[in-house]
């Protein structure tokens, strides 16, 4: 009886985070407009993801990636549409992988989405989905959207964004530029800081990265990193100061060569860094607006 109850709870939890993987795969369409599924579907997990991705695997493995389902659709000639459904383990992680690479207009699919040049990306629940055309992307666009909508409908209920994003100040926040990630590979592809991992980022760290509107100039950047404990935050704080702004010494403030300011501050196990601030007052103000409580 207890065993059955536990199983039921697990099933409910899985569904509430975004549907059952097997059911989703079985319900996927074999044909979208005049594009037909060809070849065998393939599923890759954390061990085999390298077989599928050239180098990009690390970007996903830096999150709680569980598995990706791949189905390829073909029409005539060499053109192909590739559907990838990534089970990221939780809605926060699905949002994370989506959020690190945003450039295009929303497509109105899933919880958040974008489309440009033959690439549709969206997330819903614990799933991140990519649909990409290899070949003539204009010709493939209607099928890409049709497929995206169809997949989104199978992914179960919506999920919550990372709780950590609640730390971000609201005023001036560019909402479609928020990113959440853990590791240096994601940071470097989002906003290059240094060739080495001077913030000691890894899967145990949570990073909220945000841009704030600034009149007459490029946005001010706020990056908040949560470390497992204060000792790890202390170490990273010192490493960042030494590697990036040695002249700041104890102040945590330094004027960069473009006359904009960088500031680093720590509160317990959290390190906050502000880049591209027009002056020290703006940097301080943004730090004070962080919702620590």
């Amino acid at each position: 009886m207890k065993k059955n109850l536990l199983l039921l709870i697990i099933c409910v939890l899985i569904y509430s985070c975004g549907g059952n993987v097997k059911d989703i795969y079985q319900a996927l369409p074999d044909q979208v407009l005049d594009w037909k599924a060809e070849a065998e579907d393939v599923v890759y997990d954390r061990e085999t993801l390298y077989d599928y991705m050239n180098g990009g695997a690390e970007v996903y493995l830096a999150f709680d990636f569980q598995q990706v389902f791949v189905r390829k659709f073909k029409r005539t000639g060499e053109d192909e549409i590739i559907l990838d459904i990534y089970d990221m383990g939780s809605p926060a992680e699905a949002f994370g992988v989506f959020s690190c690479d945003r450039e295009d207009e929303g497509a109105g699919i899933g919880q958040d989405s974008e489309y440009g040049f033959g690439l549709l990306r969206f997330w819903k629940g614990r799933y991140f989905v990519s649909v990409i055309a290899a070949g003539d992307d204009q010709a493939a666009k209607p099928a890409i959207f049709e497929l995206g909508k169809s997949v989104a409908g199978l992914l179960g209920p919506k999920g919550e964004k990372p709780e950590m994003l609640k730390l971000l100040p609201d005023k001036g926040l560019l909402k479609d530029r928020i990113s959440f990630f853990h590791s240096n590979v994601n940071l470097n592809n989002r906003f290059f800081i240094a060739s080495d991992n001077i913030l000691n980022l890894d899967r145990s760290t949570d990073c909220a990265f945000a841009e704030y509107e600034e009149k007459g100039q490029e946005p001010v950047i706020l990056m908040i990193v949560r470390y497992p404990d204060k000792a790890a935050a202390d170490k990273a704080n010192a490493s960042f100061r030494l590697g990036y702004m040695p002249e700041a010494k104890d102040t945590g403030l330094a004027e960069m060569e473009n006359r904009l300011w960088t500031m680093v501050k720590q509160k317990e196990n959290i390190v906050a860094i502000i880049f591209e601030a027009p002056d020290t007052a703006r940097a301080q103000e943004l730090f004070l607006e962080i919702h620590f409580e």
Binding site: Y50, M53, N54, G55, G56, E58, V59, Y60, V68, E80, I82, D84, Y86, D101, E103, G116, F117, G118, L119, R121, S130, I132, A134, D137, V185, N188, N189, F192, I193, A194, S195, D196, I198, G243, Y244, M256, E257, N258, F275
Partner: protein
Amino acid sequence: MTKLITRRDFIRGSAGVVLGAAIGFSAEPVKKSRVVLIRNPEALDANSHFNAEVIQEMLDKAVMALLDKSTPQKAFQTLVKAGEVVGIKSNVWSYLPTPAELEQALKRRIVEAGVKEEDIGIDDHGVRENPIFKKATSLFNVRPIRTHYLSGMSGCLKNYIMFAPSQQALHPNSCADLGSCYKLPMVKGKTRLNILCCLTPQFHGRGPHHFSRRYVWNYCGILVGKDPVAVDAVGLELIKAKRRQVLGKARELPPVPKHIQVADTKHGIGTSDLNKIELIKLGWDQDILI
């Protein structure tokens, strides 16, 4: 070890210096690290299809200039001899593979140099098990240039990762040790020519497959050299120039192509220092960028 490069190096404009590359290419010929860049706008037709005839001509001219020979046949005869077994290490990445026209142009000249057609293999993922590659006496490295999430740039050095027993073992630290592939027993001392296809380079990537057609442009060029590090160092300059033009100075460097410098300073298989590279430019010079 590579020196730490930070965002501030880009703001200062000193990132190239930190990477080991100085301001410009050497005007003095240094045979060891000669690299030839050839461009021809007719390499692609109006529909962006490759023109085999033009590509053959580009390869011929580039190799002749690289080796100071008067005909492509004479040039290739200095690279391979009759009776050899030759592996052409290509790249099959579906979004931007090595153009078949370039593979065939290369193969044609290798055959003319006296190598039997059945003794030439073209492969990518299967090189470690390919019987021709297993007994190859010479290798030719040919692949397109593009950016890469981890290594910053996929060039000739990165193309040899398939010879490694474990590709994953080469991923840490931005794939810094890719140059070690040139020292693997299957490879060491066998590479005769490195060809970095810049016909349609990709200067930035997006999505799971690091591909977006938006960031591919018709540069219509080919880089050729005997030194893979020098070829990649020049290729990186091209990628940086295009990124600077389109994405802005702060995003000039794809994060983070350490492996090119490390291949020089740690593995000693070539030069990454632009001051020690003689870059010969042939053909079309519009929007040449470097």
